[in-house]
Amino acid sequence: MICNTNLKPNFFTFTKALSNVVAALILISIVLATYIIASHKIHYLTELRAGSIVEAYDIRARRISTLFTVVDIFTNESKTHLLIYNYGLREFKIAKVIVDNSTSNFIIKHAPSGNTVDVVKKGLYDIVVFAVPNSRIIIITDNGDLYEIKVENRS
C-alpha cells in the first residue's frame, strides 16, 4: 500500500511531463515535416514571386541607367546616319531599328575609329540605317526600351 500510494503520484507526474515532451516533439516533428514536405513548393513560390520583383527592379535600373543623346542625324544616298552619344551608366545593344513603320537593317560604328561594333559603350556611335525615314526612326534596345526620333523633312 505504501508502495502503491508512493507510486501513484510519481506515475501521474511522469506521465504528465512525458506527455508534454512527447507532445512538443510531435508538434516540432509535424512542423518540420510539413516544412520539409512543403519547402520545395514554398521555395518555388517564394523564388517565383521574389524573382519577378527582383527582375522588375533590375529592368527599371537598366532602363534609368541607359542614357544617350542624339548628336546628329542626316541622310546620305539611301542611308541614314544617326549619331548618338552614350553617357549612361551601362553599355547597351540595339536590337531593332524601325524606319517609319518597317524594320530596317543597320550597323553600328564607333564614330572616332569607324569600327563596326555590336555594343554601344560610353562615347559617340554612328548608327547607319539602310533606309531613309519620312517621319520617324524608332530604336529598340536590348532592354526592350523604345526611343522614337521624329524626323522633319526639310526639303
Binding site: A24, I28, S65, T69, H81, Y85, Y87, L89, E152
Partner: protein, 403 residues
C-alpha cells in the same frame, strides 16, 4: 522541474516556429531588398549625373591667327566640364571627329588649335560633345535636338565675319510685340479661345471666371525664381493646367510671343541672345509634363493665319500655325518631367541661349517667334483639379538681323 520543462518546451516550439517563419521571410525579402538597393543606387547615380549635366555650361570663341583657327573654350558653368570631342559634319555630309579630352574647372579656359575650323563655311554642323552627354553647338542651322547651345560664339576672321550689320536694342513695346495663345487638343473644344489684337490684354480664363489659366506678364514676373531679375525687354507666362471642366487628361498648349523684325526682307541670318527661366511643377507620379521652348520665324501670312483662326491648330508637332508657313524652328530647351514617386516634383532653372539662324537663301521673314509648348499627360484616376503649373520668363538680350 515540471514548470521549467513546460516553459522550456514552449520556448523551444516557439523558437523553431519563429526560425522557420524568419527563414521563409528572409528567403523572400533578401533578394528583393538587394535588388531594391541596387535600383536605388543606380537611381542616385543617375540623378547625380543628370544634375551635373544640367549644370554644365560652356562658351566658345573661334580665333584665327595666321589663317589657322583656334577654338577657345570657357567653362561658364558651376561644375567641372569634360569636353570629350569636337564633332564636325561637312556640307557633303562627311563626319569628322576630333578628340578634345579637355577637363575644365569652373571659370577655366582652354585654347585648342583646330585647323578644321579654318574654313568654317565648309561645315554644316559643328558641336562640342561632353562626357555628361551635353551637345554644345558651334554651328547648327538646323538644330532641333534637345540640348544646350553655346552661350557665346564669335569669329575674328575678317574673311568669315559673323558680325551682323546692326543690333536691335529695344524690343518690347505695344506695337512691335504680340503674344498669342495657340491651343490644341480638348481645350480647343471648350470654345474658350481668346481673340488677340495689338494692345489687348491677353488672358485666358475658365468658364467660371474663377481662375486664370494663362497669364502673361510684361515685363517678366520672376517671383518663381530666386535672385532673378529681368529688365524691360522681357515677358513671362504662367499656366495652370486643370483636369477639371472636361479639359482632359492629355493637353497640349502652344504659346507664341512675336517680335517684329525691322528690315525683314532678304534676311540671311538672325541671331538671338535670350535668357530663359523655366519652372515646371507636376503633382503625382501619374503625371507626365513636357515643357519646350522654340524659336521660329513667321511670315506675315502666317501671322494673319494665326490671328484669324478660331479653331484648333493642326495636330502637328512642330507647326503651330494653320497654314504651316512657319519657316524654321530651333529648339532651345526641352524639358521632360516624369515623376518617379507619389509626390509632386518641381524643376526650375535659368539658362542663357545664343541661337544662330542661318538660311541657305536670302529669305523674307516678318517676326521672330518665341514659342512655348506645354504638354501634360496624366493617368490619374482621382479627380484632382489643379494638376500642373508651368511658368517661363524670357529676357531678350539681343537680336541681330544679318542681310
Amino acid at each position: 522541474m515540471k514548470l521549467r520543462l513546460k516553459i522550456g518546451v514552449s520556448n523551444l516550439i516557439a523558437s523553431i516556429l519563429f526560425l522557420v517563419l524568419l527563414l521563409s521571410i528572409l528567403m523572400f525579402f533578401i533578394p528583393i531588398a538587394s535588388a531594391q538597393g541596387r535600383f536605388l543606387d543606380v537611381g542616385k547615380k543617375v540623378i547625380e549625373l543628370e544634375t551635373l549635366r544640367s549644370k554644365e555650361k560652356l562658351s566658345a570663341r573661334i580665333y584665327h591667327v595666321n589663317n589657322t583657327a583656334y577654338l577657345e573654350l570657357t567653362n561658364t558653368g558651376d561644375v567641372k566640364s569634360f569636353a570629350d570631342a569636337l564633332y564636325l559634319r561637312s556640307i557633303n555630309n562627311t563626319v569628322k571627329i576630333r578628340e578634345l579630352k579637355l577637363q575644365l574647372e569652373p571659370g577655366e579656359k582652354a585654347v585648342v588649335e583646330t585647323p578644321e575650323l579654318t574654313y568654317i563655311s565648309n561645315y554644316s554642323k559643328v558641336s562640342i560633345l561632353t562626357s555628361y552627354g551635353n551637345v554644345f553647338y558651334v554651328i547648327d542651322p538646323q538644330q532641333t535636338s534637345e540640348t544646350s547651345l553655346l552661350t557665346d560664339f564669335n569669329s575674328t576672321s575678317s574673311g568669315n565675319s559673323l558680325v551682323p550689320p546692326y543690333t536691335i536694342s529695344s524690343l518690347v513695346n505695344d506695337v512691335d510685340t504680340l503674344p498669342i495663345n495657340l491651343w490644341e487638343g480638348d481645350i480647343a473644344n471648350t470654345k474658350l479661345w481668346y481673340r488677340n489684337s495689338v494692345n489687348e490684354t491677353i488672358v485666358f480664363v475658365n468658364e467660371n471666371d474663377l481662375e486664370y489659366y494663362v497669364t502673361w506678364y510684361f515685363p517678366a514676373d520672376t517671383s518663381y525664381w530666386d535672385n532673378l531679375t529681368m529688365g524691360e525687354n522681357s515677358f513671362s507666362l504662367k499656366e495652370r493646367v486643370y483636369e477639371g471642366a472636361n479639359l482632359g487628361k492629355n493637353q497640349k498648349h502652344w504659346y507664341v510671343y512675336l517680335i517684329e523684325l525691322p528690315n525683314s526682307e532678304n534676311v540671311k541670318e538672325i541671331t538671338a541672345n535670350i535668357t530663359v527661366a523655366y519652372y515646371v511643377k507636376a503633382k503625382t507620379a501619374a503625371d507626365y509634363v513636357i515643357h519646350e521652348i522654340y524659336l521660329g520665324l513667321v511670315t506675315e501670312n502666317s501671322l494673319e493665319c494665326i490671328s484669324i483662326t478660331n479653331t484648333s491648330p493642326l495636330d502637328d508637332y512642330n507647326l503651330p500655325v494653320q497654314n504651316k508657313e512657319l519657316q524654321t524652328i530651333y529648339a532651345i530647351k526641352v524639358l521632360r518631367i516624369k515623376i518617379g514617386g507619389w509626390r509632386s516634383d518641381t524643376k526650375t532653372g535659368v539658362e542663357n541661349y545664343f541661337v544662330k539662324m542661318e538660311f541657305p537663301l536670302k529669305t523674307t521673314t516678318k517676326y521672330l517667334a518665341i514659342i512655348i509648348y506645354n504638354e501634360f499627360h496624366t493617368n490619374s484616376i482621382t479627380s484632382v483639379n489643379r494638376r500642373a503649373l508651368f511658368a517661363v520668363a524670357v529676357q531678350v538680350n539681343e537680336i541681330t538681323v544679318g542681310h
